[in-house]
Symmetry: C2
Subunit: 468 residues, 2 copies
């Protein structure tokens, strides 16, 4: 299989000309100001800043198409940008080029309550969308933690705490409008809830991280806001018991909405940060959606399963205020981590394994954290076998950073050895490209490369990401 | 966008040589006997028989790869075959070539009860799989009616009666092994329940109808057999009331497992065929899965919704025997149709529209059936907006066949005009290729063609299907 086309950094007169054309067309929605460029060349992780040559704030699909056509003429890289909350260097511009900032495209184009769907522009964030939907009785469930843009969530195939019930982005997108590498505007599917009419271009673009096209409109599935919610926390003697309870819960058909694992050090962190007084042992944080009777029954049945497996007591509530208090631990988890090592930075990473291997994987990872003299709570979307390490590191300590890198490498190897994946929901970006050849066979990667080459022959769409 | 490569029918000495090589390698698992070839060149519909030049009964992924490599050398068409239950001419061989019959590949490679998944070969049928799983407490839910092979169900992106609860094939496949056009064996993903590591090749192959590769192994999601099931029938005054009840049911968050619409003539047919005495008016057939308490509650809540909308009484039961009796109408529907016009053939077709348009679409279709002097019950997976017409036609009556063809054409146009798709679950095959250019824009079809060309440059994989 051939390599992808060599990416050429546009510079000199060509760059001046390209920038001039963009500025002429987009006026004050164009910028090559250093601080704007740097703001668009960062991620939340420790990856270095790699700014684009210019940033354009697009307002419509047609404008995105114009920008991409122009870039195609110059063979200049195109990097789509939503909120910049991605974690693996997805929006860095290692070869410069033009960043298309989609944050001005945040219209809700249509809501169809009877069809339980809506059509939105990519720049709207999930919280903005849910605020907009509030009066309809509907909501968009996918919750990756950060208030990411819907376009970004499409592009990384995001999921989060309630994927166990509502699925991931791949399960909640009906259709997309995408600007391809040649500027063509492609609508991937119609608004019917299912179709067998041709290749699933929708799913091909979901998770493609902008390397095949720029998403400019999204038709999303919506769900009815549940009539009732019950939620609670349940301590367990160890990680194995947590995982066994999770498996038994799913096997028994309880339609759990959220089921989050928090390890002992995670609980210690939230106790310190939020003065919670939780028992410092691994726990599951649970949430159930349904009718009044159903969420009560689900919570009770989970409580019995937990007790059978040595866990409990399961403290749960249905009133909003009490529920919020019980779930405070989970909501505060990210910021609470820093109380474990004030002044450090967090390296957030994720892997995902078959749930039967989750306990082994978490236990081995705990041992590795200790052996590597690192500090990292583990928090997991246990219903999916997906978990996060949040490494708290002193990025100025070379020795520690080396130990952290060794740990991250082994974490992925451990996941892959257990039939897992190097990323369950964060995506590949720059940082996990080196694992693509281990996760996939040469033939599988070959197919990905063939598709990339065919649809983006000059390799201008977010180059240096995803496909090695 | 270029056209696909011209398909060359292999004949003369080349064909003799190809057949000789296959016979040499596969012995009595090779056949070019006319009746075997014709058996593999038919579908369940009225499309004519187009037999392949030879049929090989493969026993492993490696064998499939050998056959495809050989065919690639001769540029001979490759047509994968499961059970032959597809409805749109998917297994016809308009350019001859080699049919790979996968019916001997029906092993269950692994069942992972804790992960709720299994690994199977493509030739196993859904009923065979569920028989195999019976003692595990798990089941595979997708039910397209026919006892199709899992490989065929992957390839047509099948769904059926309980997609409203469990999704379609795209939602229930974790990973695939696929033999590509060059003979490469590609594993699309690992066994983790979700992943963001690269392009979604799994979903690209699902629904590709064998035009990109031959599926040789499937990792499927399984579900716990529900603790309890309630089911029943509910008559409504008209189609609008049925559809409004369906919409209200879904909006209210009742996790309905099956919700089938049967029109008045459909009810008349099952009354005649099975002596049921049902009220001859449109009805919904419902099924609920969950705990004992939950299925009771779901049925009661549906009953209230139905009553509010002028329907009912909703007759339901939880005991297996009574449930079966209530659902007998739906089970007998296909064969019961023929009592409406004994001696005729059925043309089964499907479209899918946003559920808000379903009542309009069905009502207009009823009028068209009457105006066209045709006979066709309408049965629908109403939770998805997907419905079927089962045209009962005298295929020797040229005038009637012409009216039927006009009707089928208008049915698709009507669906497309309502933001729907020309096929919700049957697939494109040969028969619906002519609609692909109406359903999708030239740019969208261009992307599909680019992918097909890139992955199958000689156009040997099931040519003459899906991509026009």
């Amino acid at each position: 299989m051939d390599d992808l086309a060599q990416v050429r950094r546009v510079d000199g007169e060509a760059l001046t000309a390209l920038k001039g054309e963009l500025q002429g067309q987009f006026g004050n929605r164009y910028s090559d100001n250093t601080s704007v460029r740097e703001q668009h060349g960062h991620t939340l992780t420790w990856t270095g800043n790699q700014p684009p040559d210019a940033v354009v704030f697009a307002q419509s699909t047609e404008e995105v198409s114009q920008i991409v056509r122009l870039c195609a003429r110059y063979k200049a890289p195109v990097i789509p940008f939503g909120t910049g909350t991605s974690l693996e260097g997805h929006v860095n511009a290692p070869f410069g080029g033009v960043c298309i900032d989609l944050s001005m495209m945040k219209r809700v184009v249509a809501v169809h309550p009877e069809d339980l769907d809506c059509v939105v522009e990519p720049g709207i964030t999930r919280k903005e969308l849910n605020d907009y939907l509030r009066d309809t009785g509907l909501f968009f469930p996918i919750d990756p933690g950060a208030d990411a843009s819907i376009g970004g969530m499409v592009s990384t195939r995001a999921s989060g705490t309630n994927a166990v019930r509502y699925g991931t982005m791949k399960d909640n997108v009906i259709a997309l409008t995408v600007v391809m590498a040649n500027g063509d505007i492609v609508r991937t599917a119609r608004r019917a809830r299912k179709s067998s009419a041709g290749y699933d271009l929708t799913r091909l673009i979901i998770g493609a991280e902008g390397t095949l096209g720029v998403v400019t409109e999204i038709t999303l599935k919506l769900h009815g806001i549940p009539e009732a919610i019950s939620a609670g926390v349940c301590p367990f003697p160890d990680i194995d018991a947590c995982c066994n309870a999770a498996i038994a819960t799913i096997q028994s058909g309880i339609p759990v909405a959220r089921m989050e694992l928090m390890d002992k050090i995670g609980v210690q962190a939230v106790n310190m940060h939020s003065k919670l007084g939780l028992p410092e042992t691994p726990m599951l944080l649970m949430e159930f959606h349904g009718s009044d009777a159903s969420v009560k029954e689900q919570a009770e049945r989970f409580g019995e399963i937990a007790e059978d497996l040595g866990g409990g007591p399961f403290t749960w509530a249905t009133q909003a205020e009490e529920r919020t208090k019980l779930w405070q631990a989970r909501h505060d988890a990210y910021w609470a981590c820093f109380t474990l090592r004030p002044g450090t930075k967090a390296i957030a990473t994720d892997i995902c394994v078959p749930i039967s291997r989750l306990a082994d994987c978490v236990n081995e990872t705990h041992k590795d954290i200790a052996d590597s003299r690192l500090v990292s709570p583990i928090i997991g979307h246990v219903g999916d076998g997906n978990f996060h390490c949040n490494l708290l590191v002193d990025i100025n300590d070379g020795d520690e950073m080396q130990r952290a890198e060794g740990f991250l490498e082994r974490l992925v190897q451990r996941g892959l050895a257990m039939e897992g994946t190097c990323t369950g929901e964060h995506g590949v970006g720059q940082a996990k490209m080196k694992y693509m050849g281990e996760e996939h066979s040469a033939a599988t990667l070959g197919v990905m490369r063939t598709i990339k080459q065919a649809l983006d022959p000059d390799n201008i769409m977010n180059p240096g990401k995803l496909v090695p």
